[in-house]
């Protein structure tokens, strides 16, 4: 569906995107991950042909961008991208007409979506009177109303309450079942973990990790231990054989150097803590993210100290 190869974009002195390649396939959800300012939005804008890459190519079903491609893509920008003063239905109809949808057809589709999102009562309200979450839903409706084959959502979950987050997840999975290609960006790893078939992790403009979620997790091996406990777990990062540790209040994830010393480790921990669960698991995406991005941040800081 979409193939991005080696795109690069430089703003005066800052390289926002540096050689990013990715691929979105029909019937798959691609998660575009990365910390704030990593270059996710710039990448998306280049895919949408809003800005041009300095170098690199982007093809849609093997063809370069053309006017017909516009209508194949649906886009929800990060900050909703809605008019404030206009009435909800009018705004939806306007964007539909920009896409060339006949007005009665557009009305029918808008009605279906509004009903689904529980927004029917608001159709005659001004958009600014809606809550942030509801505005987000309106933005989403606008992005899919023309039945695009490629749906690109920039931080679609921000501002949604848990119930609506679940609803949106269901809809994304539905789009996937319909054979659409979906790309969404987020910095919340749990969303990506539950939804994505493939991920593309970007940091400081570069792809640091790319591939199918399954493959990535197994690549990071089975040397992660999940512990649920009571007590003060702050000593765990200093235990022998522990490579990295993410210690939370009653929960910790330890990444070990090898898988050989697990029972020994359990004994040591059990001496100090009331262990409720001790399990060997695949690493969470969050842990991978922290490891890759965090390590980079640290080395950057070190370099900064030396310079």
């Amino acid at each position: 569906m979409l193939k991005v190869s080696q795109i690069r974009k430089q703003y005066s002195t800052v390289v926002a995107v540096d050689g990013v390649s990715l691929e979105a396939r029909r019937g798959e959800i691609l998660g575009l991950l990365g910390p704030n300012g990593a270059g996710k939005t710039t990448t998306i804008r280049m895919i949408l042909n809003i800005i041009h890459p300095d170098t690199g190519t982007i093809t849609y079903d093997g063809l370069p961008f053309n006017e017909a491609v516009r209508n194949v893509i649906g886009y929800l920008p990060e900050e909703r991208g809605l008019y404030r003063k206009n009435k909800l239905l009018n705004a939806i109809m306007y964007f539909a007409s920009l896409r060339g949808i006949a007005s009665d057809e557009a009305k029918r589709r808008a009605y279906d979506w509004l009903k689904r999102f529980d927004l029917l009562n608001y159709y005659d309200r001004k958009i600014e009177e809606l809550s942030k979450g509801n505005q987000q839903k309106v933005g989403f409706i606008i992005s899919v109303l023309h039945d695009p084959q490629l749906v690109i959502l920039d931080e679609p979950f921000s501002g949604l309450d848990p119930i609506n987050q679940i609803m949106l997840k269901d809809i994304l999975l539905e789009l996937k079942r319909q054979g659409k290609a979906v790309i969404f960006s987020t910095h919340q790893m749990d969303h990506a973990e539950k939804l994505c078939d493939t991920i593309c992790l970007i940091n400081t403009g570069k792809v640091v990790l790319e591939g199918s979620l399954q493959e990535i997790k197994s690549r990071y091996g089975k040397n992660t231990i999940q512990i649920i406990y009571d007590g003060d777990g702050s000593f765990m990062p200093t235990l022998p054989g522990v490579k990295t540790a993410h210690v939370y209040e009653n929960y910790a994830e330890l990444v070990l150097n090898s898988t050989n010393h697990q029972s020994q480790l359990l004994v040591e921990i059990a001496q100090k803590l009331d262990v409720k669960k001790f399990e060997k698991v695949e690493p969470s995406l969050n842990a991978i993210f922290l490891e890759l991005v965090g390590a980079d941040k640290k080395s950057q800081m070190k370099n900064g100290d030396i310079l």
């Binding site: 809003i50 516009r70 809605l82 007409s97």
Partner: protein, 410 residues
Amino acid sequence: MFVVARWEYVEKIKSKAFIISIVLIPVIMLAMGVVPGLLASRPDTDSRKIGVFDKTAELFHPLQEYLDKRFKLPDGKPNYLLIPLADTVNSVKEGKNLADALVMAGDIEGYVIIPKTIMTDSSIEYRSENVGNIRVTDRLTGAIRYLVVQHKLHERGIDPVFAKELTSPLEMKTIKLSKTGEEESGFAQVFFTAYVFMMMLLFLVMTSGQLLVRSMLEEKSNRVVEVLVSSCSPTDLMAGKILGLSGLGLTQMGIWAIIGIAISLKFGITLIALPSALLLLVYFILGYLLYAGIFVTVGAPVSTEQEAQQITSYLTIILVLPVALALPVMQNPNSSLVTILTYFPLMTPTMMAMRIPINMPSAGEIIATIALLVVSAAGVIWAAGKIFRAAILVYGKRPTIPELFRFLRA
């Protein structure tokens, strides 16, 4: 493109601000023109008491007679009651002090001192709390001058009627010649036509230019623009905007023009011949497009309300400049400086607006200026498209001039 145009037009025309401005602006303009006049010309309702020190001892009564005859209150009473004042026995100064006290106490409006030497040095003094009441001072000086002149004429034995004949002003009737025949038309009328045209262009550019910048700013600040340019091409978006908002401005103008024409027909004023009007319309539209392009070019990179205001006010200054030049241009429409200014695209429409009603320029010149306008409007809109495309997505910081040039080459 037409979808965008319709949206901009329909959504804005429904807004309260637009409806209010349609009604309010003419009302304000009318008020500015008429109310001060009404206030100033409102007749007095009570007689005003004016003290008079008549050192000549012969002007008091004629002055009262003259004022009584000329200025009456609506109810027939005299408008001005003169109170004779005299020097006290002791000194001139004491008399003045007493009179000043009367003024301060509000017994008299003010008082006038007519010195003995009035016949030779023609100077009088008026003392009052309020010397800003021009009507009183004008009428008093007028009356006293008349009396002095009469007195002098009488002394020399000249017949006052003959004197009046001597001083009667010369009247000149101006007749504008044109190919279709002679038509009577005063300078004031031509001036008025050109002025109306300029004001209309000014208003249209200001209102729709501001709308244009604002609408871009709004779409930019809530990122609607990203959705827009991912749904249609930036060129369509820009063209649609210009079209829609021009339509809006023209609707506004149209409503006012219809009202204006209705009023002028009622009062039997013919404004301008039809061919000239059509020609002016061409300049009007081309000029408008040129300015719209400029507004887009400078408005697209803007990201705050303050910047937007600054930029629109700069542009307005360029536009107002020809209005300031109006009078000298109309007095000498064929001077070479005016011709040069006509070829400065930003001024072409307004300059032509002044020249066409006064003295139709040659066909060659008209074609040349229209061509110039077309080329510059097209050029500006082309550049606007490029800059719009790039700059509308620049957030936070204003692009530098070199960056703008890079956008142009992109």
